[in-house]
């Protein structure tokens, strides 16, 4: 059923068809319409989930850790400071191997106070052991929400997932979306059948003390699970494409890369803007292409390396910065090309921070500056005014 709906409503609809047992959320800022709509579904009797209004995002994710450990299918969503407040518990969720799914409406972190879009919030949770999938448009965010459950709940993965969608740009926009039907979701996603869960009949301990003798091995098996998740993501994406006739089959998606000399690497809704810029450059005879990262964790090392096999250079555009170094995605992509014989030149830009609109003309201009040798290899702020900090 294709309908024009708001991004947040599309996600709420997807979650309704997935039928989580427990939804816990902090209901006010920085929250989205996702959980607002879900609470309406429950109040109207359209969805039978247990809905717990938490007193903070820390509580919301903690409630889901408890619920998930008992074998419940769970959902929450949050944004910016809310995700930051969850930070400690995110590591518990992944360490206890709980397949919680969360949709993150990507927004900037304070200070200064800013409610607008960038991806610093989720990128800053990169090392938490959560799978991170980034959506380019509302349709993809809607679809990834379902795919995330199948990936996370797989016995070979058993890691939580974040579906990251750009705040406002996707959460508050209206677009035609092919919405799930109940029956097709029931067919695609088997009921959650945890092999190990908390029950009074067979008491267990989750997240117990692991001394130095054991801790490393817990981390080691999580890393192995992330590696297996790569295969599982490909499998789930392929199954989804077969059934729904849309989506990708890989952890990345390529656009006009067949004969490209320069690869533009990005993630999230920025990909659409980059595509437009690449089309314009192609019209001018510049052979550019796009590599969209869908799965940021696990990181698609093999896919990216293969996609960069024939290019002379690559440029990463991202909406975050690891202060004191460079963009986190830029660092990751550079690590992938380290072993290549003819290493392509590497450029990276932070753009769209704190909701600054990214225009295709800005992207086009920055790409041209790199191609024409007006920029040295390295990382830059892509769109910044001249400012001077007062130091006295």
């Amino acid at each position: 059923m294709k309908k024009v709906v708001e991004g947040s409503v599309a996600i709420a609809h997807a979650v309704k068809t997935i039928r989580p047992d427990v939804i816990a959320a902090y209901p006010i800022t920085p929250q989205t319409h996702i959980v607002e709509r879900l609470s309406e579904y429950i109040a109207d009797g359209e969805l039978k989930s247990e809905y717990v209004r938490a007193d903070s995002e820390f509580s919301a994710i903690s409630i889901l850790v408890g619920a998930s450990a008992t074998g419940a299918r769970t959902f929450t969503s949050t944004s910016s400071q809310g995700l930051a407040l969850m930070h400690e518990v995110l590591f518990n969720a992944s360490g206890m191997r709980l397949p919680i799914v969360m949709v993150v409406a990507n927004r900037a972190l304070s200070a200064p106070l800013n409610i607008w879009n960038d991806q610093q919030d989720s990128i800053s949770q990169r090392d938490s052991g959560w799978i991170q999938l980034y959506a380019e448009d509302i349709q993809e965010a809607h679809d990834l929400t379902l795919q995330a459950y199948k990936i996370s709940e797989d016995i070979e993965v058993r890691l939580p997932s974040m579906v990251c969608m750009d705040g406002f740009i996707l959460t508050h926009a209206y677009e035609p979306v092919d919405l799930f039907e109940d029956e097709e979701v029931q067919k695609f996603l088997p009921p959650y059948d945890p092999k190990v869960y908390l029950t009074t009949e067979d008491p267990l301990t989750f997240g117990a003390l692991a001394t130095p003798e054991y801790y490393t091995e817990f981390r080691y098996v999580m890393q192995q699970a992330m590696e297996r998740a790569k295969k599982k993501i490909r499998k789930v994406f392929t199954e989804f494409k077969e059934m729904f006739n849309r989506g990708e089959e890989s952890l990345i998606s390529l656009y006009k890369m067949e004969d490209a000399d320069i690869a533009i690497i990005t993630l999230g809704s920025l990909t659409s803007t980059v595509r437009e810029a690449v089309d314009r450059l192609r019209d001018k005879g510049i052979k550019a292409g796009v590599v969209k990262i869908i799965s940021y964790r696990p990181f698609p090392e093999e896919e990216i390396r293969k996609s960069l096999d024939k290019v002379n250079s690559f440029i990463v555009f991202e909406k975050d910065i690891s202060l004191g170094h460079e963009g986190a995605v830029f660092t990751d992509v550079k690590s992938v090309v380290y072993h290549m014989k003819d290493r392509p030149s590497a450029f990276g830009f932070a753009v769209g921070l704190g909701g600054r609109d990214v225009r295709e003309s800005t992207i086009e201009k920055l790409i041209v500056e790199c191609i024409e040798g007006r920029k040295k290899e390295g990382f830059y702020f892509g769109d910044v005014k001249r400012v001077k900090e007062i130091l006295k």
């Binding site: 024009v4 406002f168 740009i169 209206y174 920025l270 659409s272 437009e276 609109d357 225009r359």
Partner: protein, 184 residues
């Protein structure tokens, strides 16, 4: 070749339903077989403050995610905004402004470029709805003046958004505004 995209910017005040107007137009365009996209200006929402909402319609899938800088059409819900919110900003030379005003375009002192059309949406809304909520009148006037979307699709979209008598009245308001601006 990039697709032909029509871009529309709606000006109003918080509480006047500008975002809802963009949403209903997106729904209506989709009903007419076009691709559409609507989004609000991403700001801090306050009742009464100037707000902007945006609409793109196209015969192909819309991938653009940036804001709208050079609209083909602007819709101004509140005439008091003309002199305070730079409503004509970036309007294409051959673009069109549809303004809620009891004045004729000639009497409306404005430096908005392009074609200016006016409709007394406030009076129509008070007559039909009993209150000065103009968003459905303005979208009716917009499709009347632009011919981009059918009034039937707009009426359907309105009735999906507002149920019962509210929907019927708003659909009628849109149609009246549609007819008025067409003959004007």
């Amino acid at each position: 070749m990039s697709a032909l995209i029509i871009e529309v910017r709606i000006h109003g005040r918080g509480g006047q339903g500008s975002v809802t107007a963009a949403e209903m137009l997106a729904v209506a365009a989709f009903k007419d077989g076009m691709y559409s996209q609507a989004f609000p200006s991403f700001g801090v929402e306050r009742r009464g403050a100037p707000v902007r909402a945006f609409l793109r319609i196209s015969d192909r899938k819309i991938t653009l995610k940036s804001q709208i800088y050079e609209p083909d059409y602007i819709i101004v819900q509140d005439p008091t905004l003309i002199h305070i919110d730079n409503v004509g900003e970036g309007l294409k030379k051959d673009g069109m402004a549809i303004i809620n005003s009891d004045k004729s375009p000639e009497d409306l002192e404005t430096d908005i470029g392009g074609i200016v059309r006016t409709i007394d949406a406030t009076r129509l809304a008070i007559e039909i709805l009993g209150r000065p909520i103009t968003n459905t009148a303005m979208i009716g006037a917009f499709v009347g003046a632009s011919g981009l979307i059918s009034i039937d699709a707009v009426k359907e979209a309105i009735k999906e958004r507002f149920s019962g008598e509210m929907g019927e009245k708003n659909a009628r308001l849109a149609e009246v505004a549609f007819e008025k601006i067409k003959v004007a």
